[in-house]
Amino acid sequence: MNTLFDKIWDAHVVQHVDGGPDQLYIDRLYCHEVTSPQAFDGLRARGLRCLRPEKIFCMPDHNTPTEHQDRPIEDPVSKKQVDALAANAAEFGLTHYGMNEPDNGIIHVVGPEKALSLPGMTIVCGDSHTSTHGAVGAVAFGIGTSEVEMVLASQCILQQKPRSMRIRIEGELGKGVTAKDMALFLMSRLTTSGATGYFVEYAGSAVRSLSMEGRLTLCNLSIEMGARGGFIAPDETTFAYLKEREYAPKGEAWEEAVERWKELRSDDDAVFDREVVYDAAEIPPMITYGTNPGMGTAVNGHVPTLDEIPAEGQPSFCKALKYMDFQPGDALVGKPVDYVFLGACTNGRIEDFRAFASVVQGRKKAPGVVAWLVPGSQAVLRQIQAEGLDKVLRKAGFEIRQPGCSACLAMNPDKVPVGKYCVSTSNRNFEGRQGPGSRTLLASPLTAAAAAVTGVITDPRDFLV
């Protein structure tokens, strides 16, 4: 009567610390340039080496410019951080995929596409969106830099076991409704702290019907409900996606692995600490209007009125609307859009580019809209070119940039200016997230594409046959 979460977690417990957390063994550690330098400094200060360097993979993604990656990074502070990761990886004997190299990309896009993330694994990274890797059926979660140092040194982490929660979405998704809309819908219902303290298993027919790319998007956003991580039990969709990828087992080992992975499911009588069920038909294309990802509504809906907000939440609600320059009760459709961002570990995969292209094909980018289309990895970029999507997009007035986290958190030059509105496929609409004073509206690639060709917030269903 165990949940899949229990099975994977318990199998990795090295010991229960007396009166404290579990010592959990970690199968895979990813490091990016922002949250790792102080961890490597810590190792040096303590005179430590990595216990299992072969289980650790490093790549820069947050600071990398999305143009001219063949040239040195212009911002000296960004360059220093990116260079530090390369130097640390070399010093400690870790695999490193440098900027502009064929294997580089956003860590949460590269991990699954190289099958470095596999079912049944424990996976961590100093990044809250590590939950993405849960889509392959792994227990994956974000950690702080001190915890990165723990794993570098001991391949283990001390961690209190979270409680388990199952979110089932049953039925068929409506036209123009994507995994991103599912996630934004869940956040709007559960709030940004609704799943805090829990590890989420996503289940139900609507989740099963998602492609691997869709599952990665859904799991990616688990943290935005407060959950430590989210995952989906592996199935034929998972196996078909992973097969033949670089780090997937091959030949007989593959067959054996799949047999093992088929056992990775919650028992029928498993008891979850919390369970919620939603009807897929209830979910519309979504967009956010405020400054946390839980402040979302149907794209054809309106900003809530003050009486719809509980009293203790009103100061934050009013602060958010003031920042966004929206009024309670405003309709969202028709509001002007200055920027459109397609990309990030949330929506920077091939399927997202196909979706965007399907809307803009045969149309033109609205004049005045600045659009940044940023593939999640070099492999995604190659696939875009192989499918000819770049030509479709160029004809509609869009350029493809080079891979990286880009305008999701604007640590590179891609910053949305003060006061400008950006319909963004990324994961956070916090104040200043896309640049100081920027105003972010989170949405799916379809909704972003509809805004890009009209210059205003638009229901993507208007463009779908």
């Binding site: 950690i143 283990c156 001390l158 943290i223 958190l409 916090f430």
Partner: protein, 199 residues
């Protein structure tokens, strides 16, 4: 910074907003540092709420209000949501806070605080509401956080609550030890686990 925790008695800085995310605690553009200078992060704690773009302190933000100060930050529910950046905990520590009191913390940030010798104290919503009222009425009101006995007391009203802290972390905080000190002593157990796994 590693330090031994015992009893902390201090005035408080109130931040009665909910869902304060780590992007507000320390914006992403300050994450480019490659060293752990807490003073740098502390200077930029709540940067965009605290300063205008030209660096002028915003008069209406609590850290710029001379009436308030102390080693305890009191914040609305769901403090530290969003990004896992430990820089947020470094900024809080670097500014000089030893304790953050809220009715609810985001998971990753809570761990990050503990790993940096900042103590997150979870109180009931009632206790928090009363504490905000107490501080609003008297900015010099004090709170006592007693780590050995795991109690938090509003010294103006006398209201006291127990707070949770697992015995392992309590031992670490009271003795200025961190998790890496502990893990480096566990190599035999790690290798035994690996050997069992490969069978």
């Amino acid at each position: 910074m590693k330090q031994k925790f015992d009893i902390i008695e201090s005035t408080c800085v109130p931040l009665p907003l909910e869902n304060v995310d780590t992007d507000q605690i320390i914006p992403a553009r300050f994450l480019k540092a490659t060293t752990r200078e807490e003073s740098f992060f502390g200077e930029n704690l709540f940067r965009d709420w605290r300063y205008d773009p030209d660096g002028t302190p915003k008069r209406d933000f609590v850290l710029n209000d001379p009436r308030y100060g102390g080693e305890i930050l009191v914040a609305g529910r769901n403090f530290g949501s969003g990004s896992s950046r430990e820089h947020a905990a470094w900024a809080i520590a670097g500014y000089g806070f030893k304790v953050v009191i809220s009715s609810f913390f985001a998971d990753i940030h809570k761990n990050n605080e503990l790993n940096n010798f900042v103590l997150p104290v979870v109180v009931t919503p009632d206790f928090l509401a009363e504490l905000f009222a107490t501080i609003a009425a008297d900015p010099k009101a004090k709170v006592r956080v007693d780590v050995p006995n795991q109690t938090v007391t509003n010294l103006s009203t006398g209201r006291s609550e127990a707070f949770e802290l697992n015995p392992y972390k309590k031992y670490c905080l009271m003795n200025a030890l961190d998790d890496i000190d502990f893990l480096m002593l566990q190599k035999d157990k790690i290798e035994a686990w690996e050997a069992g796994c490969s069978k």
